[in-house]
C-alpha cells in the first residue's frame, strides 16, 4: 500500500493508475454508465457522434448490427476485468503454492515441480491456449483454466526463486528451530516478504491476460456471442475496417489503454519498491 502511495506521486504511474481505474469503474457501474443496452439493435453502422433515434448520441457510432459501440465497450470491460482478474488469481494461487513448496522443501519436490513447469513453458503460449479452448469449448471457466495452465509456471518460477532466497534467511531458520509447521513458515515468513516483486509481476501479467482474452475473442475462442467482448468486436469489424474504421479502432484503443495503464503502474510500483528498499 505504501509502495502504491509512493508510486502514485510519479505522473506516469498516476496516469497508469487512472487508466486502469477507469476501466474498473466501467466494469462495476456498466448498467449506469452505458447510454444504451449493449445488445439492442438500433441503426446499423452509424459513424461516431451521430444522432440516435431516441434523440441521444452514438458517441462512438454503432456496429454492423446497430449496437452502440460505447455501450459495448463499457460492458466489454466487465468481461475483461472480471475474467482477467479471476484467471490471474487462479494462476497466482497455483503458481505461488507450487513455488513456495519447491523453494522451501527443495530436493525432489523442487525437481518434479520445476520439470513440469519447464515442460509447459516450452510450448508456444498461443498454441497452448488454442489447444485448450478448442478441446474444452469456449467459456469463461475454460479461459480461466487455459490462462492458469499457461501462466502458473512462470509465476511458479518467480516465487520459487524468491522463496529460495528468503528461506535462507535467519528468521526462517529461527522458525524451523522453534518447531513451526511448514505451511505457516511458507505463509507467514516467506510469502509476505516476497510480495513486492509479485505485485509488480501481477500488474504486467494482468495486462498480458487482458490481451490474451482479447486475442481469444478475436480468434473466435472467447466468450460466446452476443456477450460484448473487445477482442470479438475487433474480429467482427475487421472486414469493414477500411470503410468503417471506428468498428475496430475503439475496441483496440480500449485493449491497449488497459494494457498500457497496467504497464505504467507496474513500472511505478517497481521503482517505488526499490526506493522503499533503499530507505
Amino acid at each position: 500500500m505504501r509502495a502504491l502511495g509512493r508510486a502514485l506521486r510519479r505522473p506516469a504511474s498516476a496516469i497508469g493508475f487512472a487508466m486502469v481505474a477507469l476501466w474498473v469503474v466501467c466494469a462495476i457501474f456498466a448498467p449506469w454508465l452505458a447510454p444504451y443496452d449493449p445488445l439492442k439493435s438500433q441503426v446499423p453502422l452509424q459513424m461516431p457522434f451521430e444522432r440516435a433515434p431516441d434523440g441521444g448520441v452514438f458517441w462512438l457510432g454503432t456496429d454492423l448490427l446497430g449496437r452502440d459501440i460505447l455501450s459495448r465497450l463499457i460492458y466489454g470491460a466487465r468481461t475483461v476485468v472480471f475474467w482477467a482478474g479471476v484467471a490471474a488469481s487462479s494462476a497466482y494461487i497455483v503458481g505461488i503454492t507450487g513455488g513456495l513448496c519447491a523453494g522451501f522443501y527443495r530436493g525432489i519436490t523442487d525437481r518434479v515441480l520445476s520439470f513440469l513447469a519447464n515442460v509447459v513453458l516450452s510450448f508456444p503460449v498461443l498454441v497452448l491456449y488454442i489447444l485448450i479452448i478448442v478441446t474444452l469449448g469456449a467459456s469463461g471457466l475454460n479461459i480461466v483454466l487455459a490462462v492458469t495452465f499457461a501462466s502458473a509456471p512462470a509465476i511458479f518460477r518467480i516465487v520459487r526463486a524468491l522463496s529460495i532466497d528468503i528461506a535462507s534467511r535467519d528468521f526462517v531458520s529461527a522458525a524451523i528451530t522453534q518447531g513451526e509447521n511448514a505451511a505457516r513458515i511458507m505463509l507467514v515468513d516467506i510469502l509476505p516478504n516476497a510480495t513486492g516483486p509479485l505485485v509488480v509481476d501481477a500488474c504486467l501479467r494482468l495486462g498480458y491476460i487482458a490481451i490474451t482474452i482479447g486475442t481469444l475473442g478475436f480468434l473466435g475462442l472467447g466468450l460466446p456471442p452476443p456477450t460484448p467482448d473487445w477482442g470479438g468486436m475487433v474480429n467482427e469489424g475487421r472486414g469493414m475496417a477500411m470503410v468503417f474504421p471506428h468498428l475496430v479502432v475503439f475496441p483496440c484503443i480500449a485493449i491497449s489503454s488497459l494494457m498500457l495503464g497496467l504497464s505504467l503502474l507496474a513500472d511505478g510500483l517497481r521503482e517505488a519498491s526499490r526506493a522503499g528498499a533503499k530507505a
Binding site: 534467511r169 528468521f171 531458520s173 529461527a174 522453534q178 518447531g179 509447521n181 509476505p192
Partner: protein, 532 residues
C-alpha cells in the same frame, strides 16, 4: 614532518531527512607523512564518510558543506571532478573493507594491477606494466606471484585479495593511503599479517595512512596517533599511548572500557552434569569434512565457546547441533535423548529445549511481523496458551531491557543492538534449557556488544541456561566462556577451561590465534600497570 593531508573545519551534510544535519561536523586534523592516524568510532560516527570525503567520493545524497582539504598545497575539496580523478588513485589511494568486492571478479589479478598502471600512464609498454605488476605483488609478499597473477579473485583467499588491493593502491606510490576497515572482514591471523604489511610498507615508502577502524585492539597494534569520532564530531585526538592509556574525553573512556579483554574473567565453576553432550558429531559436504568427529560436553548452566577462523566448521557445528542441518554421524545428547536422531513430531516437540540466537540482527527477524506477534507465536509453540504467551511476551521485553511499546512495532523500528535483544527474547520465549549463540555479538559495536553479553550472562545466571557460544573473537570468548573449544578445519584441536586455553594454550594453532588477537600487548601492559 610535512602533512600528507590537512583537513580544516570539514563538514559533510546529510540529506534533510537524516537523523542529524551533518555526517561529519567541523573536523580538523592532519595526517603527517610517514604517520598512521587511526580514526576510531562506532557505527554512524561518520568515520567512513570522513574517509570518502578526502577521496572526493562521497556516497550518494551526502554533500560537502564546508571546510577545506589541503593536499599537495591545494584545496582538493574545491577541485572539479576532472582534476580530482588525476589525484585519486595516483596520489591518494584507498583500500576497503571487502577486498573481494573491490576487485573485478571477471578479470585476472595480474591484469587488474596492470590496468591501474595503464590508467595513469597509458604509454607504458605492456611488458613493463606486467613486470611492475609482478614486482608489486612480490612486495606485498604474495606467494608465487606468477601463479596468482593468472588467477581470478574468487580463486584466491580473502587475505590474498586484500594484498592485491593494497598492491593496486600503492602502485603509484601515493603520498596518502586511506584504509577503511581493511581488516574487519578478515580472520585474526590474516588481520595480524595485513596490519604488519601496512606498517612495513609505510616504513619503506613514508606515505601517510588514514586508517579507519572500530577496533581499539587494531588501533593499539598499528596507530601512531588516534582520532576518536562520535556522531560526526572529533572528540579526542592524540598520540596512541596517551589516548589508549590516559583518555580524556568521557566517550573515549567509555569505548576503551568496553573493549573486551583477552584475559578470561573469573567465573564460578559450572556444575559437572552436562546439559549437552556431543559425541563424534560429523557433517560432511561431499568430500569436505566441515565438522569432523567433534566430542565434548557442555556443563549444565555453563558456557562453552567455540572459537575458530572462517571455514573452521564452527557455524556448521552449531547448525548440526540445533538440527538446521542433519549430522552425518554422531550423537547430540540433550536430557539423555539423542537429538540428532529425532524426527517428525518428537523432533518438533523437543526443539523447544534448544534455541538459537543468530548473528545478523537484520536478517534474523521477519521484517513483516510485529515483535509481539513473533514472541507470542514462539510462546505458543513452546506450549503456552495464547493468553499466557502474550503475557510472557511483555515480560520478556522487560527482561531484555526493551519498552513494552516494542510489541506493536516491526523490526525496522529498532537498532542492531535492540534487534539482538528481540532475538534473545524470541529464543527465551520457548523456555529452552540450552541457547546456541552463533556470532551473536559480532555485528554490534563494542559498547552495545558489551551490553548484550552482560544481558546473556545475567539471563544465564537467573534462568540456569546452558550456552554454546560460537565466535571468531577470542576476546569475546574470554569474557563469557567457562570452557573453550578451538576448531580448525572441522576438528576440535583444543578443549579446556577458558583460563587454560587462553593463558596456557597447548596446540600450536591456539598459540597462533592467541598471538594474533589485536591489542594483546597493549592490554597485558595495561593490566601490568593496574597490578602495580
Amino acid at each position: 614532518m610535512r602533512a600528507a593531508v590537512a583537513i580544516e573545519k570539514l563538514s559533510v551534510a546529510l540529506p534533510s531527512d537524516g537523523d542529524r544535519p551533518f555526517a561529519v561536523e567541523e573536523i580538523s586534523l592532519e595526517v603527517a607523512k610517514g604517520e598512521i592516524l587511526c580514526v576510531v568510532g562506532e557505527s554512524g560516527s561518520g568515520k567512513s564518510v570522513l574517509a570518502s570525503a578526502i577521496m572526493g567520493a562521497l556516497p550518494h545524497g551526502l554533500r560537502h558543506a564546508e571546510g577545506r582539504i589541503i593536499f599537495g598545497g591545494r584545496d582538493i575539496a574545491a577541485l572539479p571532478e576532472q582534476e580530482l580523478r588525476a589525484i585519486r588513485g595516483r596520489h591518494i589511494a584507498m583500500i576497503f573493507q571487502e577486498p573481494m568486492a573491490a576487485l573485478n571478479p571477471a578479470i585476472r589479478i595480474g591484469e587488474q594491477i596492470a590496468e591501474i598502471l595503464e590508467i595513469h600512464e597509458p604509454e607504458m609498454p605492456r611488458a613493463e606494466r606486467e613486470a611492475r605488476a609482478l614486482a608489486l605483488m612480490r612486495e606485498m609478499q604474495l606467494p608465487d606471484p606468477e601463479t596468482i597473477a593468472r588467477r581470478y579473485p574468487h580463486e584466491i583467499s580473502g587475505g590474498q585479495c586484500q594484498r592485491v588491493v593494497i598492491a593496486m593502491a600503492l602502485a603509484w606510490n601515493p603520498s596518502l593511503l586511506i584504509a577503511d576497515e581493511p581488516t574487519t572482514a578478515l580472520d585474526v591471523t590474516t588481520q595480524a599479517q595485513i596490519l604488519k604489511l601496512i606498517k612495513a610498507l609505510r616504513d619503506e615508502h613514508g606515505h601517510g595512512v588514514l586508517f579507519v577502524t572500530h577496533d581499539f585492539g587494531v588501533v593499539a597494534d598499528i596507530a601512531d596517533r588516534v582520532a576518536v569520532m562520535q556522531r560526526g564530531r572529533l572528540v579526542e585526538i592524540g598520540p596512541v599511548a596517551q589516548v589508549l592509556n590516559d583518555p580524556v574525553h568521557p566517550y573515549t573512556k567509555q569505548l576503551i572500557a568496553a573493549v573486551p579483554s583477552l584475559i578470561p574473567r573469573a567465573r564460578p565453576e559450572p556444575a559437572e552434569a552436562p546439559a549437552l553432550r556431543l559425541e563424534g558429531v560429523s557433517r560432511f559436504f561431499g568430500p569436505l569434512r566441515a565438522v569432523d568427529d567433534v566430542t565434548f560436553d557442555v556443563p549444565s548452566g555453563g558456557t562453552v565457546a567455540i572459537v575458530g577462523e572462517s571455514g573452521s566448521g564452527k557455524s556448521t557445528l552449531a547448525k548440526a547441533v540445533i538440527r538446521l542441518l542433519a549430522p552425518n554421524a554422531g550423537r547430540t545428547l540433550i536430557e539423555d535423548v539423542d537429538f540428532a536422531r529425532l524426527s517428525g513430531r518428537e523432533l518438533m516437540r523437543r526443539r523447544r529445549l534448544i534455541q538459537m540466537v543468530f548473528q545478523d540482527p537484520f536478517g534474523s527477524l521477519n521484517p513483516n511481523r510485529t515483535v509481539g506477534a513473533m514472541l507470542t507465536r514462539a510462546g505458543v509453540l513452546g506450549g503456552l496458551e495464547a493468553g499466557e504467551a502474550k503475557a510472557q511476551a511483555a515480560e520478556l521485553l522487560d527482561l531484555v531491557g526493551l519498552q513494552r511499546e516494542a510489541l506493536e512495532r516491526k523490526p525496522e523500528a529498532f537498532s542492531g543492538g535492540q534487534r539482538q535483544r528481540i532475538g534473545i527474547a524470541r529464543a527465551l520465549a520457548m523456555r529452552p534449557s540450552i541457547i546456541v549463540a552463533d556470532e551473536a555479538v559480532s555485528a554490534l559495536d563494542v559498547s552495545v556488544q558489551r551490553q548484550v553479553l552482560e544481558l546473556l550472562e545475567r539471563l544465564q545466571r537467573d534462568r540456569g541456561l546452558t550456552m554454546l557460544f560460537i565466535t571468531h573473537d577470542l576476546r569475546v570468548a574470554a569474557g563469557i566462556a567457562d570452557r573453550i573449544a578451538v576448531m580448525q578445519r572441522g576438528r576440535v584441536v583444543e578443549f579446556g577451561p577458558a583460563v587454560q586455553v587462553l593463558l596456557n594454550p597447548a596446540h600450536p594453532y591456539t598459540v597462533e590465534l592467541v598471538a594474533a588477537a589485536p591489542g594483546r600487548e597493549w592490554q597485558s601492559a595495561q593490566r601490568a600497570a593496574q597490578a602495580q
